[in-house]
Structures are given as C-alpha cells and as structure tokens.
Amino acid sequence: MTLRSLIKAVWLIGIYFFCLIGFAQETSSNSESETNSKSTFFDSKERQRFFAIMIGGHKPFTSGDNFMGEGLEGKSGIDFKVQMYIYKHFFIGLSTGASYFNVKNQELLGAYKKSRIAENYVYIGYEFFPTDKLRLGLNISIDSDLDYKNTGFSTSDISEQNDSAKLNRYGLYLNYELSKHFMVYLDYGYNESKTEIVVPAELDNFFKKGKYSTIGLGLVFTIGSRDLISRFVD
C-alpha cells in the first residue's frame, strides 16, 4: 500500500470520525470553555480543537547547488491538510498537495519544460498561542511520498517521465482566528527532497537532494474542542 493510498484511506476514516465525534462534542464544549479560561503561550484549554482542515495555495522557491536550485523555477502550488490534535496541542497531520515548476535549464535535467511534484506526507507538530488571536504551529514530516511528473517534451509521443523521492519537511505556520472555528493561515515550509534518481557518480550529489521552500496562504476550519486523548481520559 503506497503512502498516497494510505492517506486517502485515513482521510475517509478521519472525515467520518470527526463528523461523528467532533460535532457531538460541540454541545458540551461551551461549558468547558467557561470554566477553563487560563491561557499561556504553550497551552490554552478554551482554544483547544480536535481537527483542523487547511486549504490553500503556495509559491515554491528552489534553492541551492542541486537539480532543483539550478534547474527548476517555482510557479505555484496547492495544499490540503487535515490535522488531529492528539494530546493538548500536539497534533498529527496528513497533507496532500502539489507544487508546479518550470524547467529553467534543460542542459542540467533533460529535455522537458515542466515538472509537477505530487506531495503526500504525514507530519507531527505542536501549536503555540502567542496572542489571543494568533496560533503558531511548528511541524515536521515523518513519512512521505513525492512523485515528480516531468512533461513538456518536443513530441506528444512522450507524455511524461517520472522521478520519485522522499520528503524531509520542516514547517511553521501562523493562524489568525477570525472566529472560533475559522482562521486564515500563512505558512512557510523548508523542503528537502531525497530522490531515488539513478545517475552517474559525477552527478550523484547534484541529484541526491533537491531543496525548495514554500510560502503559503489559506483557510483553516476547525472542529471540536477537545483533543483525542482527553476524550477518553477525562
């Protein structure tokens, strides 16, 4: 089972799960928030959530002396993430998205004009509360699946060529709360793509890792007011 199919399966289960539990929890959450008003940078019971769904777009920026930094130029990207708060503000998330690039130097990569990376990864992180309206999240990927689809050949008889990789991603985001369950986000991600491309020894360092950063904007919808463990422990 690939990571992509695993993510799809977990998504369906997750959506069912938070519809069932998240909404049911809403009715009892008001009384909780009235009794727990203490809020610090590290913890805020009244701002506790169960699920967060993020939908947005991003701009990728390639960097470094590697096949991405020298050969690709970022165009745009899309993101769709779901994260579940396991205990307090520690969360685990699933992300699926894509980043789009133009090839700026075919001599270094091959004779194609465009590259699209399908990004699927699992991440963990923690959320902090710097002000009443802001949430600061830090996250890191723990498993991933990247698929480069290279297109734009001189003939239509070659539709695509594919490369694959694993992702090391370090991200942070800032959410601004517009209402209890609705926020906007600004995020930054540093991505290191560890490729499986077989190349001559001379090109090994150049193709082994690709580096790109992303700056994204989007919307956040949250559901529930208690983390997963609290639902069973409390």
Binding site: A111, N150, F153, T155, I158, P200, E202, L203
Partner: protein, 217 residues
C-alpha cells in the same frame, strides 16, 4: 477496434551524462555546437521522427557535459551539430543491448570538418533541343558512427561518404540552380555530356566559403 499508440515511455528515475570535446581540423575548439540526445533516429543525415530527450551546447573550450533523460532504444543517438559552418557528427548505438558503465557516454574528442557552400548554376545558352547530362560527386559533411557496445561497427557507419547528384537537362528543364554543403578544401568531380557526346570530367577544389560555380552549354 484497437487503438495504435506510438507513446514512448522513458526510463523513470534515471539520468545519463553525455560529455566530450569538439574540435575542428586545426584542433581548435568549436563553441556553441548543439548536442542532442535522441531516440528513434534514422541513419540518414537528416533524421526523421526522432525524439529529443536531452540537449545542450559546447562551451568556449569546445567541452560539453549534457545531462539527459534515458530510454532503451535500438536507435539511440547523440548528434553534434556545429551549425552551418561545420559538419554534423552522430554517435549511434542500441541501448536495448548496451548501457555504458556509470550511465556516462563519453565521446572524448569529436572532430568536425569546416563546411563550404558549393553554389552551382547551369544555364543553357545554345538554344532549344540541346541537352546536358551531368553528375556531381562529392564528400558530404556528415559522419555517423555506429557502435556495438564500445566497438565501432564500420559496416553500419557512414562517415564522410561520397554522394552523387545526377540530372538530365532538356527542353522541359534546361536550367538548374542548387547548393551543396561540402567540406572546405574538398574536391567536387563534375562529369557532363552535351547532347550525348562523350563525357568530360572536371575537378573543382572548394577553396572558398561560398564557392559559386557557373556552367553554360
């Protein structure tokens, strides 16, 4: 009903390196020569229906290092085109049977010949009913070397081979004007017969970049 597809699937997760140096007959480097990595290339000087999977240019020292996609193909080729001024070189092999060690195609030193343009103009001035049968023999500015593994197969190669252009001029087609690309310093053998009289042969040495040749009969 069966749909026929010509779709080519390149090797996933693979890149090759094509490298070498391009010089002319005086051992001077040739810069800005175009290096194309091709599949489905024919053996003719002008390839047909070939697909480009890698491309680059030589630098000021004549050196090139091109990263390319890869395909296992019986008509895999690396073509070096020195522009209008130089001959074309093609390295060809069957990658279904041979993939080089370390995915590197090192062509080492490739020598291109400087080309001249031979413009010929044949005009009938003797009036109707006179005919001319002529032939130009020359060496074409094209070299294809076919390798089986690392061994040159001379039988399948065609490097700077003799070409022949023949035509019969008569009332319906009395004049002709055409041009040929020929290695500079080469000799063109011009053989002709007017009104089916005995053939006469002339040798023309191409010693100008643009060599104009006019013949009247």
């Amino acid at each position: 009903m069966t749909a026929l597809s010509c779709e080519v699937h390149l090797e996933d997760n693979t890149r090759i390196l094509v490298e070498g140096t391009i010089i002319d007959e005086n051992n001077s480097p040739i810069s800005d020569a175009k290096i194309s990595v091709l599949i489905k290339r024919s053996n003719y000087s002008e390839g047909e229906n070939q697909y480009v999977i890698g491309e680059g240019y030589s630098n000021a020292e004549g050196e090139f290092s091109v990263t390319s996609l890869y395909d296992k193909d019986e008509d895999f080729a690396i073509e070096i085109h020195g522009g209008e001024d130089y001959s074309t070189y093609v390295y060809k092999t069957n990658t279904l049977e041979y993939t080089p060690l370390d995915l590197t195609f090192n062509l080492e030193t490739v020598s291109l010949k400087k080309l001249a343009t031979f413009n010929y103009h044949i005009e009938r001035t003797s009036g109707e009913a006179n005919t001319l049968r002529y032939t130009f023999k020359y060496i074409e500015g094209f070299c294809l070397e076919y390798y089986e593994g690392t061994t040159l197969n001379e039988f399948q190669s065609s490097c700077y081979q003799e070409q022949v252009v023949s035509q019969f001029l008569n009332d319906s087609n009395p004049d002709i004007e055409w041009l040929l690309s020929i290695p500079f310093g080469g000799v063109v053998e011009f053989t002709y017969a007017i009104n089916d009289e005995p053939e006469i042969t002339e040798f023309i040495t191409i010693n100008e970049d643009n060599y104009d040749f006019t013949f009247t009969y």
